[in-house]
Amino acid sequence: MQPQVQNLYRPKGRGGQFRIAVARWLPGPVLFPSIGLAVVCLAMVAASDTFLSVDNLVNVGRQVSINAIIAAGMTCVILSGGIDLSVGSVMALSGTLVAGLMAAGVPPPLAIVLGLAAGLLCGVANGFFVAYSNMPPIIVTLATMGIARGLALIYTGGYPIDGLPDWFEFFGRGHVLGLQTPIAVMLLVFAMVYVLLDRTAIGRYIYAIGGNEQATRLSGIRVSRYKLLVYAISGFTASIAGLVLTSRLMSGQPNAGVSFELDAIAAVVMGGTAITGGRGSIIGTLIGALMLGVLNNGLNMMGVSPYLQNVVKGVIILLAIYISRERSRIA
């Protein structure tokens, strides 16, 4: 008696359940980024003999890891409908703090904990202003971006901090279970964020807030709490990236991470996450980060001038997002 519900996504015939399961995975945010990554990889294989070598691929993984770790936290923020511009600065602040405290003789484990705590604190501050004072995230994090960078410069006096204990290079140059530590840390961070977003109630709330904040609030969810949480996560992952970078350089650089927020946002969006929130996946972000990394690596190997690289990267980002837009418009 009711007009039949139209559902254009519903697969017909046998194997429906299976195809629903596949449909929920693939055409969702992950299919197109995967194709994009495949295309970029094929292009690089065609253009360069050495691209496929194990050494080079490991190299790509290591180069990608820092941006990917930041992008993992950024994914949570963007899924909730926000944005975090402060990640690059927070990364520098945490990195210099770890280096500075260690150089000043603070026990290294404590120095690391304090460095990570500083990043977390920056994230909590962002989250507090966004969630409880209703300030627009782009403004709040723009402000903390300046503040965190300034604090890093004040703390270091503008000079890199060197003279770190030898074993500290474990985080940037060491190995865990045969994997380079940065890659291992990246995989661990992604696994944790994946579980959070996909298997827990908190993850569902993050998607819900990005999808419709008011509906989520009126459903009895304490929205502010979870908004604060995503910025805290983002601050924390930024500081993990800071730790890895400091270790790789064996130096606390106050000017590290400038414009890293843009690379992280690009990775998230190229991974199919909607910039307006509510839709996307952490696996897509990993693919997006890899796509950017392969591009960087390939263009370098081809000897493309760094100036032109920026242009090429920008065009490809635009193209990737244009395709995913068109797709979601058709769907």
Partner: protein, 517 residues
């Protein structure tokens, strides 16, 4: 009213058909949205387009406005066949549509909005503000509309904004005007004003298509009625020669005996159990202080005009909006409701007024929408979701509320309005929540789904739930409520009990100021 319609009818016979649709068909994928629709509208006619949600009205309007192209069929305007490539082509052909959601820029004034994109300029290329203002003033004067042309349209009432839309259409020399549920956001008085303007336009020979869910309105202003059902034109009727019952039957294809389920026998006052006692609530320091009681097993109506403060009060009670003063007892125990999380913990749920913007997360599946505030149920202790359990529970509730959806994983955006509403209701049913606030639960959903939601509400109260229903539909208030609190300008002016609940009594208190009683 009837004689007037009859004259309209006679006049129309002599007038020429300006808009003619012949065999319009449109398919989306496998679904026939429209099959061979014929429709003819004459100059000086108000033609109602009626049908349940999903019957094809919006698709037809989108074809008429050039947003969709028909797969088959012809659009004939003033005797010439036209095909539209976009809204601008439709405007050029003299068609204007006033959508449910207005297309006005809130920060511009009426004149700037009306001339947006078609500004009149002087020899130097600068805006001729006085000319434009004079032209707008002329249009409004003709229609006997008073609007402040200086202030931003965002500050106008929704009725006035609608008039600005109409003014925009007339400025474009539209002689075919399509009004898509124009009265949905208007008070009865404002709607009456709109009808007068429509009658005036009819006299000037404008052809109008009027879409509405309110049958009374259709009988008030329309000459003829075309009924759509499942994308098929089920028939055209003269308004004067058809009854409301016949129309409803055409729409739903079956006879609806009675919309409302029977009310239970009133319970003796001393045996009533109090579920929610709002001893005092005041939204701001200057707003009126209200109090009311909600009993277990009853439906308490919040009646009043649009804008009388019913939704605001409800939102303040559950802590979604701030309040200046609030003393509330839930099940006899003093309660602090600081935010909606507190309300949820205390077992109070709200079904928001606007399903799409406040109720649903449109990107989510049916299951995810329903379980969003029950997730803890599907986890042992912490935050882990047991997906199997979640899916089972969701399927159970889908059956319980009679929701029609291919499955629990379907995106909620693909459901019809009535079924979407059931998703929002279902969210609260898998819960300890026994106090539910339904804000306009049947707005924009079709007759069949309405009856099902009424039935569901009654089943809930019979099962020990206490329900507050905010509604602007008088028949619904009278037909469903055991008690009615009547709002006027933010204050509860009267609480009616059975058997005094009738339309006249409710309307009287809602529209008459207490001083003049």
């Amino acid at each position: 009213m009837v004689p007037l319609i009859k004259t309209g009818f006679v006049q129309k016979q002599m007038m020429k058909t300006v808009l003619k649709l012949e065999g319009i068909s449109k398919k989306f994928g496998m679904v026939n949205a429209l099959s061979a629709i014929d429709l003819a509208v004459a100059a000086g006619e108000i033609h109602a387009l009626l049908g349940e949600n999903g019957a094809g009205k919006s698709t037809l309007m989108k074809i008429l406005s050039g947003i969709y192209r028909p797969d088959l069929g012809r659009i004939v305007i003033d005797g010439a066949e036209r095909s539209f490539d976009g809204y601008n082509d439709a405007i050029a052909a003299g068609i204007a549509i006033i959508f449910q959601e207005f297309n006005l820029i809130p920060y511009l004034n009426a004149v700037e909005n009306i001339f947006l994109g078609r500004e009149i300029t002087n020899a130097a290329g600068l805006l001729s503000k006085t000319t434009m203002k004079r032209k707008v003033q002329e249009i409004f004067d003709k229609l006997d509309i008073e609007i402040d042309l200086e202030i931003e349209v965002g500050q106008l009432t929704s009725a006035q904004q609608q008039f600005v839309e109409i003014g925009k259409a007339l400025q474009l020399d539209a002689h075919i005007l399509i009004l898509d549920e124009p009265t949905a956001t208007l008070t009865p008085n404002e709607a009456e004003h709109l009808f007068n303007i429509m009658r005036d336009l009819r006299r000037r020979g404008v052809a109008m298509i009027f879409i509405s869910h309110h049958l009374e309105e259709i009988f008030q202003v329309c000459d003829r009625i075309t009924v759509l059902r499942d994308g098929v034109n089920v028939g055209v009727a003269e308004t004067a020669s058809i009854t409301q019952e016949q129309l409803v039957e055409m729409m739903v294809g079956r006879k609806l005996e009675n919309n409302f389920p029977a009310k239970p026998e009133p319970v003796a006052p001393h045996t009533r159990q109090i579920a929610l006692e709002v001893e005092a609530i005041q939204i701001t320091r200057h707003s009126p202080r209200n109090s009311f009681i909600l009993h277990t097993g009853e439906i308490l109506g919040f009646a009043g005009l649009v804008g009388s403060g019913r939704t605001e009060l409800a939102l303040s009670v559950i802590g979604a909006n701030p309040s200046y003063l609030k003393r509330v007892k839930v099940n006899g125990v003093p309660a602090r409701l600081r935010d909606t999380g507190d309300a949820l913990a205390l077992g109070i749920g709200l079904l928001p007024e606007s399903r799409k913007t406040e109720g649903l997360i449109l990107d989510f599946s049916v299951k995810d929408n329903m379980s969003i505030n029950n997730l803890r149920k599907y986890s042992g202790s912490g935050h882990w979701i047991n997906r199997k359990h979640e899916l089972q529970a969701s399927n159970e509730i889908i059956r319980k509320v009679g929701m029609k959806t291919p499955d629990a994983l379907t995106r909620v955006a693909n459901l019809s309005g009535g079924n979407q509403q059931k998703v929002v209701i279902a969210r609260w049913l898998n819960h300890h929540c026994k106090i539910l606030i339904f804000d306009e639960p049947t707005r924009g959903i079709d007759v069949g789904a309405k009856a099902e939601i009424y039935q569901l509400m009654r089943e809930l109260t019979a099962g020990g739930y206490a329900i507050i229903m905010i509604s602007s539909e008088l028949p619904e208030i009278v037909g469903m409520c055991d008690r009615v609190a009547i709002f006027r300008q933010g204050a509860i002016v009267k609480i009616l009990e059975q058997p005094l609940i009738n339309a006249n009594e409710v309307m009287h208190h809602a529209t008459t100021s207490p001083e003049s009683v």
